[in-house]
Amino acid sequence: MGATTTLVTVPEFLAMPEPEGERLELIGGEIVSMGFGRIPHEVVKKNLNKILVLWLAQNPPAELFAETMYGVNDHNALMPDLSVLFPGRIGAGSTGWIQGAPELAIEVVSSEPAARLEKKVGLYLAHGGKSVWAVYPEQRVVRVYDRSRVSKMFGDSEPLTDPAVLPGFSVPTSAIFEGV
């Protein structure tokens, strides 16, 4: 008889004590370590953070969040590097965690397994996300996934746009990789 695996739920996961020096996500009821980003990962995250904060300040009302935990469904709690939320997702005085996926989830890719990234892209888009950016510092490309079957790659020499979530937004993709 095979071993039985008990799937962890989001409330159970978020009630657990946070281990020191480790960041965790819950994917498919299993707790996985996120690992730590090296310098290229952190520089790209910093660049994106700055670009989006400045743009969103001029183009409200969506807002940028950093390393925020989303309980996307019963057995998945994901923490994208950056995320954009539309207004009304967090009521005044709310506690607990944000339910569902952000409108835009941004994952800066470092040591993550491809299968896990694919699963996360699918989870975000199946639970309210409109768009996911997978940002590859080493390759200097961004892949934008949305709910359609078609995803698009943006290289160093072209402007990154995402009209479904950020209408009017356009930034040279190279700016995201500045300093890397």
Binding site: V109, P113, A114, A115, E118, K119, V141, V150, S151, F154
Partner: protein
């Protein structure tokens, strides 16, 4: 050893890192491949990458097609994952 990539490269993902996979996709397509299929057995999804930066997702019983490389070819995506 061949000096150029194949016209169609197919990668079945298991424990490979996402960044490594992305490098391979770009290398194939930058050096002559017309298409790269990436199959994810766990999610039962195939993504078909083209040389101009697009990628198309196929899943469930949708017919997997790739007219640039295999004109006329069509197979239910689920058939690829039969037995998984």
């Amino acid at each position: 050893m061949f000096q150029r990539p194949p016209e169609l490269a197919i990668e079945v993902v298991s424990s490979e890192k996402a960044a490594h996979l992305e490098t391979k996709i770009e290398l194939y397509l930058a050096h002559g491949a017309k298409s790269v299929w990436v199959a994810y057995p766990q999610r039962r999804v195939v993504r078909v990458f083209d040389p101009v930066g697009g990628a198309k997702r196929f899943e469930h019983d949708e017919p997997l097609v790739d007219p640039n490389v295999l004109p006329g070819f069509a197979v239910p995506t689920s058939a690829i994952f039969e037995g998984v």
